[in-house]
């Protein structure tokens, strides 16, 4: 009789494929996972607590550091929450600029995901190709906001700067270029049989499970629920654009991959339309009081970040600082299904599943 033993395997927090400082303690039987215990909090900086002592404008740079791959959406959610409380009307031009930078950020974020996911699966070239395009987007955002990742671009009531000269044209020219490169990615990766074998049927969950675990973003749309706040609860100017919400039925890593790749194309459509409709002139920031004091009360807004629904709850006492600030951070919620998905899987699938969820540790840990 052979005696077998389960082995405890500690993955992370400095493992190359946990995308930051995520740790999972695995109980494995051979190469099969019996139990998985995620340990988070290595990157906890207490953004919500810090915010309680900060003025609203001062909170904006902190939100840059939560989901650092798509900081524009974070900027937007806090501004949007305060604007909702104070009933501030945003100038049209500012709104267009916000949509443009958010969608560019979404493309950049999905590109990082695409590259790192393929790197996790073992192909190193797609990473560098994806970063070439991302670098172009980062360049645009750098030009308009003055930083490559921590933009701090939006202000309550509008945006900090108008687009520099020629910026809109550059973005317009970028869209066809990006479409061309995207076709190249499909050639390189999407048809690759090895890749398909790695992702098809891996990390499956059903519609009900996805809803029970409060998943959002591509993690929800991969089960066939076409839920996208840009479409279903339009904020900003999203009701002015025609775009589809890609949804796929199979609920596995392959569907999530297809979903994100399709979302890049949809974002490009939005960028194209926004550039077309972009108003010639106009203010980029509304008239707001110098010291921002939202009225007593509370507000919750939610928008669609590349990773899912990002929400912002503000409880105000009518002071300069919020009484309580809370972010619904999509990565954190999406991660909760991981232990369930991992049981019974091979260790190689751990990376495929974790990568497919697309977490950003800055957001998970807050």
């Amino acid at each position: 009789m052979i005696r077998t033993e389960e082995m405890l395997l500690n993955v992370g927090p400095q493992h190359p494929s946990t995308h930051g400082v995520f740790r999972i303690v695995l109980k494995i039987d051979g190469e099969t996972i019996v139990e998985a215990n995620p340990v988070i909090g290595y990157l906890h900086r207490g953004t919500e607590k810090l915010a309680e002592n900060l003025q609203y404008t001062q909170i904006i740079p902190y939100t840059d550091r939560m989901d650092y791959l798509a900081a524009m959406t974070n900027n937007y959610v806090i501004c949007h929450a305060v604007e909702t409380m104070m009933n501030i009307e945003i100038p049209e031009r500012a709104d267009y600029l916000r949509v443009l930078v958010m969608e560019l950020g979404r493309v950049a974020s999905h590109l990082v995901w695409f590259g790192t996911y393929l790197l996790d699966i073992g192909a190193m070239s797609p990473f560098l190709y994806a970063f070439r395009e991302r670098e172009a987007i980062i360049g645009f955002l750098n030009e308009i906001s003055g930083a490559r990742l921590t933009f701090n671009y939006m202000r309550i009531g509008g945006v900090k700067w108008d687009a520099p000269e020629g910026w809109i044209e550059k973005v317009r020219d970028f869209v066809p270029y990006m479409r061309e490169q995207l076709a190249g990615y499909h050639d390189l990766v999407t048809g690759n049989e090895i890749f398909l074998n790695r992702v098809k049927g891996i990390g499956f969950y059903s519609k009900e499970e996805a809803l029970d675990y409060s998943l959002s973003g591509a993690n929800l749309r991969c089960t066939g629920i076409a839920w996208d706040l840009r479409k279903d609860e339009p904020y900003s100017l999203y009701d002015r654009f025609t775009f589809d919400v890609p949804a796929f039925d199979s609920g596995d890593a392959w569907a999530r991959y297809q979903c994100r790749m399709a979302e890049i194309e949809e974002s490009l459509k939005i960028i194209e339309q926004a550039v077309e409709q972009f108003p010639e002139t106009g203010e980029v920031i509304a008239k707001v009081p110098k010291i921002i004091k939202p009225p007593k009360g509370e507000a919750f807004v939610r928008i669609e970040s590349p990773r899912g629904e990002i929400g912002c709850y503000i409880a105000s006492e009518g002071k300069k600082e919020p009484y309580r600030l809370k972010f619904r951070r999509p990565s954190f919620y999406n991660l909760q299904i991981l232990p369930k998905l991992l049981v019974g899987e091979n260790i190689s699938n751990l990376i495929t599943i974790l990568g497919g969820i697309d977490i950003v540790l800055g957001e998970v840990d807050g």
Partner: protein
Amino acid sequence: MVNDLLTSPAGWIHAAIFFGLGACLLMIVLGFVTYAILAERKVLGFMQLRPGPNRVGGRFGLLQTVADVLKLLIKEDTIPKAADKPLFILAPVLAFAPAFMVLAAIPFSNHLKFSDLSIGLLYYIAISGITTVGILMAGWASNNKYSLLGGMRSAAQMISYEIPLVISVVGVIMFSGSLNLTEIVEGQKTVAYMFLSPLGFIVFLISSIAELNRTPFDLPEAESELVAGYHVEYSGFRWAFFMLTEYVYLFAMAALTTVLFLGGWNPVPFLGCIPGIVWFALKFSLIVFFMIWVRGTMPRLRADQLMEFAWKVLLPVALLNIFVSAVVKELFLR
């Protein structure tokens, strides 16, 4: 000259000459490894729209690998406290020594060879199997869970892929009627065996990539899953030995493929004026380039898919190849 030496009676002088020649080959192989690593990084770099190493040794980074090796040499030699010390030290040697031993059997041109074994092919395959033991030993002795998993995967993979590898060359052996590598090359004077048994060639090429633990079959050292696999606890020169093993095997395997399927030093028709060794080098470089190219393109397979692929696809195809080869031999080579 070498042919005379090989057939002459043994003696101290001959032993000394062979030792000298062996040392020369060692240097050539080390030189190859140095520049194969550089070439790999350069080609990958160009494919990925970046220049690759370009700081040490001029614009082309010609001394990059030398600098890397130098750094590994002066690095602290660490042995984990919980490791099985004798095995830990023995493992790189055991993995590395066979890599050089197999080179002895490979003829590089009509005149440049170091042995004339009548069972050259069998010798190569038998000796290269020992490396698996070294790798498994490294994985076990490190007393690290990642390296254990890597070692296990590696053993399973290398043993599984040796079977289609061997069976795929049966066609070649049938055509040439010999296990002697020189005679196999001689048999390809008119047409290279890759055209006579294309199936065998493809199976051999795939299995050889798997044997070399290269992408897409690099599971034993899958850095995104197992960090570095079996050599995760190794550092400094012991680690360099594993790397060296890998690239010497790349050299050996590419040479073997050239000999078995691409016609060795036989020239392409009408270009016989170019010496055989150049042809050998060209064909050899083509194989090496292909392996780098594949590495730049493919993702990695999963362990169970890897096994399935070996047993359910490659092995039947290799068996089919024997049958097809027999038919081809019967119909065209009578």
